[in-house]
């Protein structure tokens, strides 16, 4: 892979991305060992597994895949005296639009991931682990397989690792282009050799009934890398990085309409939206203004750049009070983004400026979800396609006045009515774009009136195009 070497911004704190774009660095094990690699593994084997789980709990590490769930709590669901085999799966499906962080860890620093995985497997007593990597990373899969071979040859994998009595095998398992495999229960089904239909919770919480109906931990690449640093620093020291309940660093991936897009590893909550977009990313393109930002992968609710946000802030006397917050002043951590009605999600920040039509943007997102719905639950399978058809005609100039209302009612009837969070993931963009940019949608919709008795707007307004579309579907 051709990668342009980019020096870290002075405001960055490189922990997980320490070796990304590092001059003279290569993904082989000798480079890693010369830099103190696998020392944290040796330290970890000097601890009891439950001690590592304890340190991860103390660290307050939250999952980096998107949901932000407490990693220590997830691990805590595994019983120390579990009789069934325990499995660990690294979720390397990185498929949330706007997210591009795991790619660089996998391609440039695979041994960091392996060290984090081995420590994590030791902590939860997993003897067999898989890295589920998306099919579109063929080179990444080869790099990981080579790294596993190297780790084997040096005794960091296999039987009785470093004389600890602990055995572990890790295998790479490639996906084949389906976004839903990033959902942990869909991923497990896929790893079992089936369609990636997510499982219903309860009872199928992976930590209870996961891979092969055994307790299974599924963690994101970045999360597992952080485990290595928690073992090195200790949970309490790690928790000093960032902010309470938002500890550690966060890799923010910025794309779209900024001067300098890219990835930035920052202490959680260390920068505001304005600082990220203007200071780190160089501001908007010449002559442009920011219009909309999706802060945590395309499923996160869109924020409007000229809005003010009301949040609740705890006062010194313990009471709560309202505070008005400008868009630029939104702090980029889990809790602050949730407070303004969106989410930190996967860290993928997609920026759009005032040259962009929000109907066009939402239509692009809708096409993604319509393509990626697994088809298991009716509201999502049908609804995601309906939403795409509606924005398709709005963007194409064939919208009718009722379309924004219809669009909202479809979205409202998907969220909360599906087995997995894909329902919310496809409904939230629609709901938030309509709420934040009603003028764009009203403008696109006002052009046409639907004739009485017409079956579809397109049929009424352009019969030839409707016939062609029907033939194609």
């Amino acid at each position: 892979m051709v990668s342009l070497v980019k020096h870290p911004h002075p405001r960055e704190r490189r922990l997980v991305f320490k070796n990304v774009d590092r001059p003279g660095w290569s993904p082989d094990i000798d480079t890693y060992l010369q830099d103190g690699g696998y020392d944290d593994l040796k330290k970890g084997f000097g601890m009891k597994p439950q001690e590592i789980v304890g340190e991860v709990k103390t660290s307050q590490l939250r999952g980096r895949g998107g949901a932000g769930f407490s990693c220590g709590m997830k691990w805590g669901f595994i019983k120390p005296d579990e009789k069934k085999p325990v499995y660990l799966i690294c979720n390397a499906d990185e498929s949330e639009p706007g997210t591009f962080k795991d790619r660089y860890i996998i391609h440039q620093d695979p041994h960091q991931l392996l060290e984090g995985m081995i420590l994590s497997c030791y902590a939860v007593n997993a003897r067999l682990a898989y890295i589920y990597i998306r099919g579109e990373f063929p080179e990444g899969a080869r790099i990981l397989e080579r790294a596993i071979q190297e780790a084997h040859a040096r005794g960091f994998l296999g039987k009785n690792i470093l004389g600890s009595g602990f055995d572990l095998e890790i295998f790479v398992h490639r996906g084949a282009g389906a976004y839903i495999c990033g959902e942990e229960t869909g991923l497990i089904e896929s790893l079992e050799g089936k369609r990636a239909y997510p499982r219903i919770k309860p009872p199928y919480f992976p930590a209870v009934l996961g891979l092969y109906q055994c307790p299974t931990i599924v963690n994101n690449v970045e999360t597992l890398c952080n485990v290595k640093h928690i073992v090195r620093l200790g949970g309490a020291e790690f928790a000093k990085i960032g902010r309470p309940n938002n500890t550690g660093t966060r890799i923010l991936c910025v794309s779209g309409d900024v001067q300098k897009p890219g990835y930035f590893e920052l202490e959680c909550g260390a920068v505001t939206m304005g600082e990220l977009l203007n200071d780190l990313c160089g501001g908007p393109k010449p002559g442009r203004k920011f219009k909309a930002v999706i802060p945590g992968g395309s499923s996160a609710k869109v924020l409007r750049a000229d809005d003010t946000y009301k949040i609740k802030v705890k006062q010194p006397d313990g009471s709560m009070a309202d505070q008005e917050l400008k868009f630029d002043d939104i702090v980029l951590d889990f809790d602050s983004l949730a407070a303004v009605g969106s989410m930190a999600g996967s860290g993928g920040v997609i920026v759009m400026d005032d040259s962009r039509d929000m109907v066009w943007a939402l239509n692009n997102i809708n096409e993604f979800y319509a393509h990626e719905s697994c088809g298991q639950c009716t509201p999502c399978r049908e609804g995601s396609l309906w939403m795409k058809k509606i924005t398709d005609r709005l963007a194409g100039g064939y919208g009718v006045a009722a379309d924004p209302r219809t669009l909202k009612s479809v979205a409202d009837n998907i969220a909360g009515r599906t087995i997995c969070a894909f329902g919310e993931a496809c409904a939230w963009p629609v709901q938030s774009f309509l709420q934040k940019f009603p003028e764009d949608f009203a403008g696109a919709a006002a052009k046409n009136e639907l004739p009485r008795g017409a079956r579809t707007a397109l049929e009424a307004l352009n019969p030839a195009l409707a016939a062609a579309a029907a033939e194609r579907h």
Binding site: M1, P97, F100, H173, R195, S255, I350
Partner: protein, 177 residues
């Protein structure tokens, strides 16, 4: 269903070297759960033959102790598997939002023009379009996870970033015979 989908060319016989790799892949999973090897086997077969010919379901099912329908439903679910030959080199262009903001639809037009591909018949179920000379084929895919260097595309297993001009697109295609 299109005519092409009805006439799937037959899966050729699997050479011993490939079968040895397949047998090794099966050992990555617990002996009671050989079904897990379905995706790896389909990848190995497609990499070798270029597509999954008729009879793939039966061959894989026999290998893993499954029913052919178990394999069929997997092939039809995952976008990367195809039942018909693609070009000698297969191009994937990222279609999703950040790349679209960066000009991926324009990139798709340029690549089609340069590789002489007519994409007008591409559909959800038959997304791949082939050039008449068989050299290249192309399809839009969803997010390739490199949004900061949009627009991006892949040719076979090679990955290309910042393909923002027609010259850049032409330079990429020149590398392939």
């Amino acid at each position: 269903m299109s005519a092409a989908a009805e006439e799937i060319p037959t899966l050729p016989s699997v050479p011993a070297e490939l079968e040895a790799r397949i047998d090794e892949a099966i050992t990555h999973y617990p002996p009671d759960f050989k079904r897990s090897a379905t995706l790896p086997l389909l990848h190995l077969l497609q990499e070798h033959f270029g597509f999954l010919g008729a009879g793939t379901e039966e061959w894989v099912a026999h290998k893993l102790g499954l029913e052919p329908v178990n394999v069929y439903e997997v092939i039809t679910f995952y976008p990367m598997f195809r039942r018909a030959p693609a070009g000698r080199h297969h191009i994937r262009v990222c279609r999703t939002l950040s790349c679209a903001l960066g000009g991926s639809y324009e990139l798709m037009r340029q690549l089609c023009e340069l590789a002489k591909i007519d994409r007008s018949h591409a559909t959800h179920h038959a997304p791949v379009s082939n050039a008449a000379d068989g050299k290249f084929s192309i399809e839009f895919v969803e997010c390739l996870a490199s949004c900061g260097t949009a627009p991006v595309c892949m040719v076979d297993d090679d990955f290309y970033e910042n393909v923002a001009t027609k010259e850049a697109a032409a330079q990429i295609l020149q590398r392939y015979e």
